[in-house]
């Protein structure tokens, strides 16, 4: 069965500095991996997805993530944080097909002026 662990419950960075949100997964098959963002009192928005194509995935708003099978990781990065990036971020794994999708516990990203 698949599982996902977000290593940090809260990350705080200064505006203009890099962002790193860490995610490790466990999967019996070749997984599909996703990052979602949830702004306060808003719904879930897909940032990016990996589905066995290129291992470096580019998403919206300057975010990207790299699938590293040897490390079972799918960390989310952004070169320069913006105040509007403050939100909750969820890493998601799926084994595909009829398998269920599993959410990580979430990382709250705060941006300092």
């Amino acid at each position: 069965a698949q599982s996902v662990t977000q290593l940090d419950s809260h990350v705080s960075v200064s505006e203009g500095t890099p962002v790193l949100l860490r995610c490790n997964y466990s999967s019996s098959y070749s997984p599909s991996l996703f990052w979602y963002v949830q702004h306060p009192n808003k719904g879930l928005q897909l940032l990016l997805k990996y589905t066995s194509a290129a291992t470096l995935v580019k998403g919206i708003n300057g975010f990207e993530a790299e699938f590293k099978k040897s490390e079972t990781s799918f960390h989310l990065t952004k070169p320069s944080a913006h105040m509007s990036d403050a939100a909750e971020y969820f890493c998601v794994v799926s084994d595909g097909g009829a398998s269920k999708i599993i959410f990580g516990s979430g990382t709250r990203l705060s941006i300092r002026p």
């Binding site: 599909s32 998601v92 959410f103």
Partner: protein, 111 residues
């Protein structure tokens, strides 16, 4: 295009009352369907998922149940609500190797 409808958007119910939340999907066939709950300040907890009509998998023991009477309809129910059932409930669907598409959610407050 595919869309997902979830209603109601907000609901305030007394303890001990029944619950029925409905979710329907349009524009796709045989989706995988999911119910999640997000408690205040917490992540998304998978409650139920379904890979076909009448096929329901429960992820956690709880006061809730789910049913899938039609291919694109997923219902979350309770016979008697508890205070601990309060939260934000999300319906979602996936197809083969796609990302999850979410409804707008239902904010349930049990009083």
């Amino acid at each position: 295009s595919q869309t997902i409808h979830q209603w109601p958007a907000t609901l305030v119910q007394p303890v001990g009352s029944p619950l029925s939340l409905e979710c329907t999907v349009e524009g796709t066939s045989n989706p995988n369907l999911y119910w999640y709950r997000q408690a205040a300040g917490r992540g998304l907890q998978l409650l139920f998922y379904s890979v076909g009509i009448g096929q329901i998998s429960s992820e956690v023991p709880q006061n809730l149940s789910a049913s899938r009477p039609q291919d694109r309809q997923f219902i979350l129910s309770s016979k008697k609500l508890l205070l601990s059932d309060s939260g934000f409930y999300l319906c979602a669907w996936t197809a083969l190797n796609t990302e999850a598409f979410f409804g707008q959610g239902t904010r349930l407050t049990v009083v």
